[in-house]
Amino acid sequence: MNFNQIVTTLTSGFSEAILSTDEFRDELTFMVKPQFIKDVCLCLKDDLGFDLCSDICGADRFTDDDRFEVVYNLFNTGEKIRIRLKVRVDESDPHVPSVVSVWESANWYERETYDMYGVVFEGHPDLRRIYMPEDFEYYPLRKEFPLIGIPGSIPLPEIEKAAQQKDAGEAYNNQERI
């Protein structure tokens, strides 16, 4: 199987879904319409043997239309071929169908993408934040989020007054023991 076969299979089967194909440094990239991504992934897994979902990640293009990008890196373990799918969604409606039912490994990848960019994956069984705390109010990898962070967004542990006292250690040592 080579790239031409993949291109012909996908473009003949999903003529509506595939927006464009691109080849750069021997890597094949398909731009897919968001609503068709699950069908394309199912076809790739069942018919073309892309059984390992290497990675799913988001990207912020920081443009007015179709701001967020979700990138799927797939690997065919039988024939050792890699391809890449890309989906673009707008900031006003960042919803992409989840592919957890196709590859289970997508579970945490999609959670990470949601955590970092706020792209909501519809049909995901457990869409929680994975790295940041649950009550964090921002999406940190978006370009508008400053590198230095936002003061007050993550609560720091409170300093105990007893620990601040200079002679706390001595007082502790001088305590009467039973």
């Binding site: 750069f24 290497s54 990675d55 289970e104 490994s105 945490w108 994975i130 109010e137 940190p140």
Partner: protein
């Protein structure tokens, strides 16, 4: 679910809205969880009408010696059996990818050392290979050989820790001490090779920072000679040790299909019987020049995952020996001022060299626009770098596909139905490093 915050304009500057929750409110919001966790020694009894207190939720970690870092696993127990296990990440999250977007590729190199800190050299090379693929830089042959040797040494170092810690998890301390003795010697070799023992940052885009010295090659050769009988000795002790086998066999079994589904890679995937090794399948660096076998085991249990690491170390020794025998002569960095750092001699003795060094440090490498994904076979599995470049010295987006993150995802599947004592073994056998899983 919190809605996306809008942008405010303060004093003419756009900035993100301040957090809506005040610290006090936030504390109240979290208080319930804290109270439940603090009250009963991190144990929550689930049912009120369960007089024997059979079913409970147990927090394992984040500070637990068997979790190999700051992994937290929430276990739902029925007596001693695990009915549900949910790993929680984020305790070592350092925003690597956000930092990468604000640094040039060379500036980001030391951060990759801190990803999988058991094998920093693999991470350095993974980043360099990705950047070289994007820029289309040819690396001199000697440099690729040096990288290959160092990567295999890093693999041995990582597997040594993994095996030592796994055997210690089963309750035997001595193997851990022996493997750490060898790791100490490996650190000495890395010191001779790169000038640093732990976080080495030795790779450069277009080559490596310094050539091998004679002492270094001699040290590697003599260490290999001493190390080979030691592996045999350990295998004699462990491979057919009845206590060890009974502790590991058929613990945390995963089939080949499930392993692929859940995103396993590296030794863990090969222990389940899937024949994937990127060193052989997508030969990068100098791996196509060497003869080596890829060990495959079928069982998919913890014992297979242990055994495959032992066998891989033997293959790594073979690769290093072949590489040292055929080490080519020549340059160790590409001679292109727009793509690679100049040598220190040039910087000190010529104005052009100084300018090149300044430009490389200030603006970084000139890269074309585009995006690539390059993966290598790191000791833990497939370590990939996905880079989107907008033609500047810094990446627009850099995603790290870290093997530990993907391997850890299988933890809940492996643990469900097993005994609570086996959870420690399973974590040890899939060998996660939290620096990499949390990024």
């Amino acid at each position: 679910m919190i809605k996306h915050s809008s942008v405010d304009v303060v004093c003419g500057f756009e900035q993100l809205r301040k957090p809506t929750l005040k610290p006090k409110e936030r504390k109240r919001y979290r208080k319930k969880i804290y109270e439940v966790l603090e009250d009963r020694d991190t144990t929550i009894i689930m049912d009120d009408d369960d007089p024997l207190e059979q079913r409970m939720v147990l927090n394992m970690g984040p500070q637990h010696p068997a979790t190999h870092g700051v992994l937290r696993v929430v276990l739902e127990l029925d007596g001693e059996h695990v009915t549900k296990a949910v790993p929680e990440l984020g305790y070592l999250h350092r925003a690597m990818e956000k930092l990468a977007e604000n640094k040039s590729y060379h500036e980001f190199m030391p951060y990759t050392d801190r990803l999988d800190y058991m094998s920093p050299y693999s991470n350095n090379t993974a980043l360099c290979l990705a950047v070289e693929k994007l820029a289309g830089i040819e690396v001199p042959e000697r440099a690729t050989y040096i990288r290959t040797i160092a990567c295999e040494l890093a693999r041995i170092s990582s597997h040594l820790l993994s095996i030592g810690a796994l055997v210690m998890d089963t309750g035997a301390i001595s193997v851990f001490l022996w493997t750490f003795e060898e790791r100490e010697r490996l650190y000495d070799i890395f010191d001779l090779m790169t000038g640093a023992r732990f976080t080495i940052s030795h790779c450069r885009v277009g080559g490596v920072a310094s050539d091998f010295s004679k002492d270094c090659v001699q040290a590697i050769v003599s260490w290999l000679k001493a190390f080979k009988p030691k592996i045999e000795e350990w295998r004699k002790l462990l491979d057919r040790n009845r206590i060890f086998i009974e502790r590991l066999e058929s613990v945390g079994v995963i089939s080949a299909e499930d392993a692929l589904q859940i995103g396993f890679s590296g030794p863990n995937l090969r222990a389940s019987g899937v024949d994937v090794d990127l060193r052989r399948d997508e030969p990068y660096m100098a791996y196509s020049d060497f003869e080596f076998e890829v060990p495959i085991l079928e069982n998919g249990d913890s014992y297979a995952r242990y055994l495959i690491r032992m066998q891989e170390m033997e293959q790594s020794i073979r690769i290093i020996e072949q590489a040292l025998r055929n080490l080519p002569k020549g340059d160790v960095r590409t001679d292109d001022a727009k793509r690679a750092f100049p040598w220190k001699d040039e910087i000190y003795h010529s104005m052009e060299g100084l300018i090149h060094d300044f430009m490389m440090t200030d603006t970084g490498i000139e890269l074309p626009k585009g995006e690539i994904y390059h993966a290598i076979e790191a000791p833990k599995g497939e370590l990939g770098f996905y880079i989107q470049s907008d033609g500047k010295g810094m990446p627009w987006r850099l995603k790290i596909r870290s093997p530990s993150f993907c391997n850890l995802q299988a933890l809940s599947k492996l643990c469900e139905g097993s005994m609570i004592a086996d959870v420690v073994i399973i974590i040890g056998s899939i060998d996660p490093v939290m620096g990499e899983a949390d990024k």
